[in-house]
């Protein structure tokens, strides 16, 4: 399974990522997901989210997840982009693409990867409200 992991502060350029897809002739399904910063967090309006990561561990934990995906499903490739730093409302923070022979495994693997990411990959978010404060009580 090919892996491509991009974790940095650059804006996510989906229009560039989609045409970079490589798919061999045995593959029939591409499932991709874009996660976008919503304008509300816990019923309070926000301007954006500040993403922080423990980068070295992020890379390692994603690779453990990719190892597991490789065992579970016959996937051709996974590409994952997570933006860090300041991401404004309506901009994407996460982009994932899974290529597989059939849609069943592509959907299953994509959902599983995002669910597991939110369980084990050390990235945190701090929503920032209109006033520049953090509206969510985090402690």
């Amino acid at each position: 399974m090919k892996r491509q992991l991009t974790i940095n502060t650059d804006p996510i350029d989906e229009a560039a990522l989609v045409p970079q897809r490589v798919m061999s002739s045995g593959m029939g399904a591409a499932v991709y997901f874009t996660g976008v910063v919503r304008g509300m967090e816990e019923s309070e309006e926000i301007q954006g989210i500040e993403y922080e990561a423990f980068q070295k561990m992020v890379d390692h934990q994603f690779n453990l997840l990719f190892d597991e995906m490789e065992k579970r499903w016959p996937l051709e490739s996974v590409r994952l982009v997570h933006r860090l730093g300041w991401v404004k409302v309506n901009e994407p923070s996460l982009w994932v693409e899974i290529i597989a022979p059939h849609r069943g495994e592509a959907f299953a693997a994509c959902r599983w990867l995002i669910d597991e990411m939110k369980r084990v990959v050390p990235i945190w978010k701090k929503p920032v409200s209109e006033e520049g404060n953090t509206p969510i009580k985090e402690a």
Partner: protein, 81 residues
């Protein structure tokens, strides 16, 4: 022995620092380290049940036996995406 300790997300605000170090007897566990840290940073105490702990880049449980020079990281539940 000496281990370095790193805090992430709002744990940095609870402790007032991103990084510190602790000296412990040989054979000490993460649990022993946690007790020392809570004594120094009492606000960490309320977080105990939701604290995630890594040594290097791997998650470890409270009974993990620490070794000289290891890097321990403490952080709240992750929330990427």
């Amino acid at each position: 022995m000496r281990v370095s300790v790193h805090f992430y997300s709002y744990f940095k605000e609870l402790t007032g620092c991103a990084e510190t170090a602790e000296t412990l007897p040989e054979g000490s566990t993460i649990n022993d380290l946690l007790k020392l840290l809570i004594a120094r940073f009492p606000k960490l105490g309320a977080m105990q049940n939701s604290t995630l702990i890594a040594v290097g880049v791997e998650y470890q449980g409270r009974s993990y036996v620490l070794k000289e020079g290891e890097e321990v990281s403490l952080f709240p539940p992750v929330q990427g995406g």
